[in-house]
């Protein structure tokens, strides 16, 4: 068996076919359609150049949606990562009850969004829900949560943080296992306190891979759909509408597949730009590391 046997690529072929059909061909399809007027009412695509793009760029709703996406992405990921790191450090330092803590932080990860959305719709219910019940007890003004444009996106962010926290906590916990114990022991001998210790040892050591996780999470945050569809339908108004939900609306509610493809193309461009960042900074590491 020679190493340089080209037939070894037959091993790659099956999965590559799937990748081509369902990931790479669709990109070309979307880009092509994005220049056309096409949909349920125009079954024959009509080429119209950049019109779809220009229409969107002129549409204030489009920009609100982009802003919502950014707010959702940063609003979920930053708090999630910071809290996850802190809790991971805490769990790593306690002796008993570790499994209990790990489990209770991790389990929301397993609950399907569709199910989690139901529970949270109840939690946010203005007249019955526990949050407003507590607010009433504290003599504070109840909040409309999902029915209020000012709070709808925040409500969805809180729910998403709750859901993802445990997963990130595990990632950090795994990272912490790789830090040699004697580093901490040396620090303790020198008399540094708890926060100094972690600031000078833990963060620099966990940091680089954290940044990578961060960018990948930003990319993943673009797929938020289920909780929005089930909890607010993008509303009230457009206050919790995001790119993917808007694409769904244009595609499967308004049946304007041309415009929906334009949104798809724009999303692909944003994602590929982020991918470029990932590769620009971590490319070597991803492909050649762990040899």
């Amino acid at each position: 068996m020679k190493k340089r046997d080209p037939r070894i690529f037959l091993f790659l072929l099956p999965s590559f076919i799937f990748l081509s059909i369902f990931t790479y061909y669709p990109i070309f399809d979307a880009v092509g359609l994005s220049f056309h007027r096409y949909g349920a009412f125009n079954p024959k695509p009509i080429f119209q150049g950049l019109k779809n793009y220009i229409d969107f760029f002129k549409d204030p709703i489009f920009w609100q949606i982009i802003l919502n996406n950014v707010l959702f992405g940063l609003g979920t990921i930053l708090p999630t990562m910071i809290m996850a790191l802190i809790f991971a450090i805490l769990i790593n330092e306690v002796r008993s009850l570790r499994t209990f803590f790990r489990l209770s932080l991790f389990y929301p990860m397993l609950i399907p969004y569709a199910a989690a959305a139901m529970v949270w719709v109840f939690i946010y219910d203005p007249s019955l829900g526990p949050i407003n019940l507590i607010l009433k007890l504290l003599k504070l003004k109840p909040i409309g949560w999902l029915g209020d444009s000012r709070y709808s996106l925040i409500a969805i962010i809180i729910m998403t943080v709750w859901k993802n926290l445990g997963y990130y906590m595990l990632i950090f916990l795994a990272g912490l296992q790789n830090i040699p114990r004697d580093l901490y022991e040396a620090a303790t001998v020198e008399g540094t306190n708890w926060s100094q210790k972690h600031w000078h040892i833990t963060i620099p050591l966990v940091g680089p891979s954290t940044l990578f996780v961060f960018v990948v999470s930003v990319i993943q945050s673009f797929k938020v759909f289920t909780q929005i569809y089930l909890m607010t339908e993008g509303g009230p108004g457009y206050s919790s509408n995001v790119l993917i939900y808007r694409t769904y609306e244009y595609g499967f509610k308004f049946w304007q597949l041309g415009r929906a493809s334009t949104l798809t193309t724009l999303m692909i461009m944003i994602l590929l730009f982020l991918v470029l960042i990932v590769f620009g900074v971590w490319g070597r590491k991803i492909t050649y590391q762990a040899a």
Partner: protein
Amino acid sequence: MKKLFKLAIILVLLLTLPLYMVMAGGKKEEAKPEGEKAAEETGNLERYKLSEKPVVIDFYFVVGVAGPLAQVIDGMVEEFNNTHQKILVQPVYAGNYNQTMTKVQSAILSGIPPDVFVVEISELYTLLAIDGIIPLDKYIEKEGGDTFTGQYFDALYGNARAEGKIWGQPFQRSTPILYWNKDMFAANADRLKAAGLDPTRAPQNWDELEKASTILTDREKGIWGVILPGGWNDWIFEAFVYQNGGKLISKDAEKSHFDSPQVLEALKFWYKLTNELKVSPPLRPWNQTPIDFSSGHAAMMYYSTGGLPLVRKQSNFDFGTAFQPKKVQYGTPVGGGDFHISKGIPPENQDAAWEFIKWMTSPEMAAFWSRESGYICINKKGLDLPEMKKYLEEFPNAKVAAEQLEYSFPKIMAPNFQEIRKVFVANLDAMMQGQQSPEETQKKLHTSVQKILDEY
């Protein structure tokens, strides 16, 4: 060499495995008649084999109000199947109105339409634009033409007629009505009387509505005067425009009338209730509204007559229903969903679909459906049935919606109504939350609706 050969064979197998799965799936489906396969999957195989190969039709239906109506429809379909040996109807619950329309449209466009379906009445022009349905005139002719349609409230055909033909048969039809908490009115009788209102009846015009809501709002206890529910606030708002003598768009769906003073006045009235007087919550989800009302968090609500069974079941106080208060006139759009029969399906399926529709809208079934769902008993003959008479006597609240039909208008219809509805709801949402003034709302609505109308 031998090894590589083996490798190649296994790889080819691997490669073709998914394809094979697809093909196998497809072949199996082709091998059996479609009806048999469908019957097998829904556990109706026995029934299918017993009766001499009936025509199997798919029926997509919608549930548009809070309550367990899906089971009621399943039950009705089962009875139909038991009494019709030649036809087997497969009910498919397709979600709320938005979702059902999405599914129906997706199915029609991908060439596998359901045989018969119910969607929201405003969607008619969309269905025509995608060439998805057949006119029902030839069936109605066969049943006796005007004598057949004469059984039904004529106002309900307003959203089924286009291009001189009838495209839909009324089914789950409603109007919004005003629900009012009689106990709450009685408890505040003195204050209501002082304001010149009669605490034993519901407000009859906008002015009375405003006064009563203001008096009955209790911020301490978290009680709202009146709820204008979100989600379908476009529908409720349309009623206010009719009450004010205006309209939303022209009948041919070409011109927007959102710029009229009647619309502005209605917008201003809503703004006043929600933002100036704060007697109406900015937004409550559609399905939550009846709960708020029946748990005593609101003195009045605008809601579909389809909410009656739930409110009746859950309220532990005496409540009444009434016409929506008038401004210059009583007025309301009709609402709900009609039956449609798909194009592109075999004629025998279309005939079977008509049989099913006819049966579902017969006096007995219409009356049964009305009692279970709170919807209007669309078939006037159904109202004369003894059990229906008894029901209405016991529960006169159920009469109001049908009586209100006298003052009803066809609901707004336009191709791609979904897009108009989205803009409509979004702008009302923004105004109800005080993010834009009525004037601004009117301007935005007019320009965006006109733009959508111009596209088709």
